[in-house]
Amino acid sequence: MAEADQSAKEQDADEVQDVEFTAAGVREGFAAGFPVALGVAGYGVVFGVVARRAGLSVAEAAVMSATVVAGAAQLVAVELWANPIPAVAVVSTTLLVNLRYVLMGAALRPWLGQLRPGRAYASVFFFADENWALSIGALRSGSTNGAFLLGSGLVLWLLWVASTVVGATAGDLVGDPAAYGLDYVATALFLTLAAGFWEGEESLRPWLVAAAAALAVDALVPGEWYILAGALAGAAAEVVAYDG
């Protein structure tokens, strides 16, 4: 009952559609996530190769992919790897690289907040840039599938772990993913989403501010701070300009 009140309240506040969580919904997300997961698998192979070179065993690389589920952070972490492991640097860098997930998780609240907590908190374990993007795209265009994030996350997770094992095992046999254009999959995915998110003139200001802030921070600050800075600046521009 309390849960129903809660979702009814969120429904009013956010004016979003009701979502449901079904096995069919998980399958739909799984199928929709598959082409993107193939692109991610190209990076899983690279991660496996790099992790092996950094001194992790195949099993350790697989455990990292299965539990951390964050490609950019994992690649940065194994670049820092040494003997003994600089644990503080590795863990704090992981946190910094992944700070953008705080904002991305917040953006899922209107829909995932309607689910039972166990389902919502299990779903967010499986979110990464690519399936977050797919899910938010689907939900914003009116999908009632609250299991989309979990389904697309599962296919991503499976291929991420499997491709990590392939890369760590095959090592140097694998070439550069750029040779197959796989380095462009994430960019193409985000551009496709941008095309869908565009709401005409009202998107112009927050997007210009986000782009300008991201470019400025990218030029001045090493690392991935530009994503967080750009996103916050874009949202802040909207908050400041809001006129009811």
């Binding site: 506040a13 082409p35 993107v36 992790l56 065993s57 099993a59 350790e60 455990v63 990292m64 539990t67 951390v68 964050a70 952070a73 994992q74 972490a77 863990v91 992981t94 946190l95 992944n98 700070l99 953008r100 997930y101 705080v102 904002l103 998780g105 917040a106 953006a107 899922l108 609240r109 907040g113 908190y121 967010v124 979110f127 840039d129 197959y180 254009g181 999959v185 960019t187 193409a188 995915l189 985000f190 551009l191 496709t192 941008a194 095309a195 869908g196 998110f197 565009w198 997007w207 986000a210 782009a211 991201a214 470019l215 994503i227 750009g230 996103a231 600046a233 874009g234 909207e238 809001y242």
Partner: protein, 101 residues
Amino acid sequence: MVDLDPAVVAVILAMAAVTYATKAGGFWLLGRVDLSERAEAGIDVLPGAVVVAFVTPVLADGGVPEWVAAAATVAVARKTGSLLASLAVGVGVVLAVRTLV
């Protein structure tokens, strides 16, 4: 065969814990605070702002192949609305133009 060093696994699990905290943290926090309409307007533009902040520096660092492929990707996305089509066109065009320039 399975070669797991406890010290390595401990660091990996610490990485997993902070990562999950970021993924669940923003979601959890928004369920605990009552947002004004003004703040909600900001949250509302967040997905677009994240996407734009993600992709702009990547494109700025790229060259002609990435820009041509970006234009093709957006054009196909707007025309067809099909993710598979726009991904295929984006990757295909970037490969093709890279071999030309």
